[in-house]
């Protein structure tokens, strides 16, 4: 029997990393008996190994909780978990669109962070009922008044309505659930109208194929029904649907207001678009739900097989990974220096790191990654317009009318002690100062407009370093802006190495070129001949370094016992040489391509 609408509450949790979201979710599971004590594993909702390690949620999971309130009524509470990182802001907004309410979790010791704030604003835009929760009140450093003040002054919510909790100690859990029932409005919608269901997430299961996470906005979805994706018109039969308890539990139908899963023989996640609307083929809705967007990648890099890994292995791994992560794109690519590989597009820098790490870990691959870049819009003198995702595609300077690069607005929350350093960093990264808002005496919000390309390089690492880990960053895409952009080439003995080319701002070309060249100089071993490393813009050489010719390669002492050992060492050295990339006559170790990633982090010169 369908749960009446007024007995359903759909909510999510907005929190900064480490502010206790997963712990609170665990308490809900325990309190509602969804997971029994015996099988309880901390942070049940963070399923991926990587998520547990990094303490963030990469893929969201939803869970249906059954709770009998103080008044004796049984309620269904759907907790919709949201991805925890700035790179996934569109997915966050779709998860929120599946809810009527949100818990705003604020760490009593640390206060409001940039990411929390950005997501809180998203929730406000979507008209969610927000319940502030001040967590970790058991900590000696907890400052509840400070947290209340920030909720009022920074987020703009009533600080007095905040619930005090310690998810770790189990304090306040029940009060939070009662508040969800009392304050979050029940879902609305006509159960007899044509079906409209929002896809807010999708995961790939090896045995079942794509499992869609959905919220029925109106009408009902039944097992056996033929459904249609409204963005692309693809039709499928519903093989199975049901709810997460959190274990998968099949049902006959999903009604308006309910949250659950649908399985219908979809083989690849690419076919499933987050934010899309599902409708009934037999009785279709005329218009989809609002807010759907095609998500385009923002950051690109080349990925090439290295070491024992070959091209086919990398291709297979990408194919398999894409089955369960549709968020990245890849196309075959080739480089003179690195051979056959792929060009990958990501939603952001963290997303890129996660994908690379998953490839290396889950598929045991060794990879060479090229310097990441953003997409540039190039207007040619011929009037032709192109988007460049790879520095090597850049036309000759005389063919270029204008190059535009994407800008973001960064919102950085930092202790005031590091304000100067944060502003210096932004300036160094070609930032345009917007404003500074003071949260309290100790913290402020810094707004800068920055070229995304500069943020992609190593902005986040440096921000964390200069602020001893305290500053937090949130950003949103603004627009494309023309810039004095040039391609910086690296030449080895006069030959350009395509995989090392980057697009940089003209004023920064020499500095970046110098760092790249000196780093390469240390990474390229001495060879038979002297190796000239040059950085060039167009035909102009701006930096030159030299790797002197090899003078010494000898084992001084070689006695009886060492003969076979020495031969084996030489054989290993030989293998190592084979794994180097041959650029003209120069042997370049693969680490050279990887170590170049953190260009600006190079402070040792």
């Amino acid at each position: 029997m369908a749960t009446p609408l007024d007995r359903i509450r759909n909510f999510c949790i907005i929190a900064h990393i480490d502010h206790g979201k997963s712990t609170l979710a665990d308490r809900f599971l325990q309190l509602t008996g969804a997971v029994d004590e015996r099988n309880f594993q901390d942070q049940s909702l963070d399923t991926m190994e990587l998520e547990r390690e990094r303490g963030i949620t990469i893929k969201s999971v939803s869970v249906r909780l059954t709770y009998t309130a103080d008044d004796g009524t049984e309620y269904v509470l759907n907790l919709i978990d949201t991805p925890g990182h700035v790179d996934f802001s569109y997915e966050v907004s779709r998860s929120m669109a599946a809810c009527e309410g949100a818990l705003l979790l604020v760490d009593a010791a640390q206060g409001v962070e940039a990411q929390t704030l950005a997501n809180a604003y998203k929730a406000i835009e979507q008209d969610l009922e927000i319940i502030p929760v001040i967590n970790k009140i058991d900590l000696p450093s907890a400052d509840v008044d400070m947290a209340r003040r920030q909720i009022e002054e920074v987020v703009g919510l009533d600080g007095d309505s905040a619930i005090l909790a310690s998810a770790k100690e189990g304090i306040g859990t029940q009060e939070i659930i009662e508040a969800i029932i009392g304050r979050v409005p029940p879902p609305k919608g006509n159960r007899d109208a044509p079906l409209k269901a929002l896809i807010f997430d999708a995961v790939y299961d090896t045995y079942r194929g794509v499992v869609i996470h959905t919220r029925v906005k109106q009408g009902r979805m039944r097992k056996g029904m033929t459904i249609k994706m409204m963005s692309n018109g693809l039709q499928y039969d519903v093989n199975e649907l049901g709810v997460f308890t959190p274990a998968i539990k099949p049902a006959e139908s999903l009604e308006t207001g309910e949250v659950g899963y649908v399985i219908c023989s979809i083989k690849t996640l690419k076919a499933t678009k987050i934010g899309d609307t599902i409708t009934d083929v037999a009785n279709p809705a005329p218009h989809p739900l609002p807010g759907y967007q095609e998500v385009n990648p923002l950051v690109f890099c080349g990925l090439y097989p290295a070491g024992e890994t070959d091209y086919e292995e990398l291709r297979d791994a990408l194919e398999r990974l894409q089955l369960n992560d549709g968020s990245f794109q890849y196309t075959p690519d080739s480089s003179d220096a690195l051979g056959l590989g792929f060009r990958l597009g990501f939603l952001g820098l963290l997303h890129m790191e996660i994908i690379q790490e998953r490839l290396e870990r889950e598929f045991d691959l060794t990879l060479v990654t090229t310097i990441p870049n953003v997409g540039y819009r190039v207007l040619k003198s011929s009037g032709e317009e192109m988007i460049i995702e790879n520095a090597s595609q850049m036309p000759a300077p005389n063919e270029i009318e204008r190059i535009e690069e994407p800008y973001i607005e960064a919102e950085i929350i930092t202790p005031t002690a590091f304000l100067g350093a944060v502003c210096d960093l932004c300036k160094d990264k070609r930032g345009i100062h917007v404003r500074i808002d003071y949260i309290d005496n100790n913290r402020c919000m810094v707004f800068y407009q920055l070229p995304l390309a500069e943020v992609v390089m190593d902005f986040y690492d440096r921000l964390k370093t200069i602020s001893r880990g305290y500053a937090s960053l949130e950003y949103r895409l603004l627009d494309n802006r023309p810039g004095k952009l040039v391609r910086l080439d690296i030449l080895l003995n006069g030959e350009p190495v395509d995989a090392l080319s980057t697009i940089v701002h003209r004023d920064r070309a020499e500095q970046i070129g110098r760092t790249l060249a000196s780093r390469l100089q240390r990474l390229i071993p001495r060879q038979q001949y002297e190796v000239a490393i040059q950085a060039a813009v167009g035909n102009k050489i701006i930096v030159r370094e030299t790797v002197k010719a090899m003078r010494k390669n000898v084992t001084a002492k070689c006695y009886g016992g060492d003969i076979t050992r020495k031969r084996k060492l030489l054989e290993r050295q030989k293998e190592g040489k084979k794994r180097m990339k041959q650029v003209g006559r120069v042997e370049v170790p693969q680490e050279a391509f990887m170590a170049l990633l953190q260009v600006d982090g190079d402070r040792d010169k």
Binding site: T555, K557, Y559, G560, G561, I563
Partner: protein, 360 residues
């Protein structure tokens, strides 16, 4: 005829750069060790004829006369040592006295290597050696009086960098018939591994290496790290460099017999429980033996004659390695003189490049 190597794994002070099997010496070598070494010699089942004997370490000079007598007695029981055989012995300056030198001569030792390493107190301190420059000079004087066939080991690449010039000059003054010069290396296991970034720049290394080459111009630079007056080359080490057969005794010692390269157990307790027991024994394939032989010969200035290769392996050097050798000649690492391939000075300095090319 084989070479016999005896590994005496005791040192008064462990040098922080040394990568050989050794343990600190406390007063006297344990009887257990000498028992085990004697047992290993007695049990040995290989050839009887020895063309050379070499005591290496560790520090053979820590052994007492009585201990050495037991070992020599076992050796002469088990082996027929050729009358002209080289019987070499490594000694540390600390242990060298006129009395000790006389005793070693009486036992039949006819070649002495003095572990000088440096004549500079600063460098000796950097290297963590027990002796000072004064003791080194004294030891060399006494050794030169007692032995006509003697040599000293020196280490370059230590700090202070400029000490090397002083050490070379001091060495020349002692006029030893044999000198070994080893570049200091920071191997992964010894304590010096942690200091690997102190290693001198390649250019400094080569400058010091070439300074030795010049300083000892009256000697023949007959191997990558070795200089000798004619007739004073180390006969025992030449066996290694010509990839000939030898038997090693003592913990961690290697042997090469019948195409098998083997190594003794190196942990003391294991060795003493099972003297001559092997931790590894590798039957080399004919092609492995061939390439190791060529690589080793090309550490020697005498090089490798095509004729010698044909006689030993019944194959043509040209067919097996012609292309690699031509490349090396072109790179200036080898010279081809009347059918004999020999390394140039550059071929010494980049000797591993020769091996890499031959391994194709």
């Amino acid at each position: 005829m084989i070479g016999v190597y005896l590994h005496i794994p005791f040192c008064r002070l462990l040098c922080p750069y040394c990568d050989f099997v050794k343990r600190p010496y406390k007063g006297a070598a344990p009887d257990r060790f000498v028992d085990a070494l004697v047992t290993e010699i007695e049990r040995f089942e290989g050839p009887r004829e020895a063309c050379s004997v070499f005591f290496g370490g560790g520090t053979p000079s820590v052994l007492t006369r009585e201990e050495l007598e037991r070992i020599f007695s076992a050796l002469r029981q088990r082996f027929t040592v050729a009358p002209d055989a080289e019987i070499g012995f490594e000694a540390n300056p600390d242990d060298i006295t006129p009395e000790a030198l006389a005793a070693w001569r009486e036992l039949g030792i006819n070649r002495l290597s003095v572990g000088v390493q440096s004549f500079d107190d600063g460098a000796l301190t950097y290297l963590g050696r027990a002796h000072g420059a004064k003791a080194a000079h004294q030891a060399c004087e006494w050794t030169a009086e007692a032995f006509s066939n003697w040599g000293m080991d020196l280490i370059f690449g230590a700090y202070p960098v400029e000490s090397w010039g002083r050490t070379l000059a001091a060495c020349r003054a002692h006029a030893p018939p044999h000198i070994s010069t080893y570049g200091l290396s920071y191997e992964p296991k010894p304590p010096f591994a942690k200091r690997a970034r102190e290693a001198v720049d390649d250019d400094v290394y080569i400058a010091q290496y070439e300074a030795a080459h010049t300083a000892f111009e009256n000697h023949l630079h007959y191997e990558v790290s070795n200089f000798a007056l004619p007739g004073y080359e180390s006969q025992h080490n030449l066996l290694y460099w010509r990839n000939a057969e030898y038997a090693g005794f003592g913990p961690g010692a290697y042997s090469f017999l019948d195409g098998i390269r083997s190594r003794n157990l190196s942990r003391f307790r294991d060795y003493e429980r099972d003297p001559g027991g092997k931790s590894e024994a590798l039957k080399l394939t004919p092609s492995e033996i061939r390439v190791e032989t060529v690589i080793q010969h090309l550490r020697l200035r005498e090089g490798l004659e095509k004729r010698v290769y044909v006689e030993r392996f019944g194959r043509s050097l040209e067919a097996d390695y012609g292309e690699a050798i031509r490349g090396l000649v072109q790179r200036g690492l080898l010279e081809d003189e009347d059918g004999c391939m020999r390394p140039t000075l550059k071929g010494f300095e980049q000797n591993s490049e020769i091996g890499l090319a031959l391994l194709g």
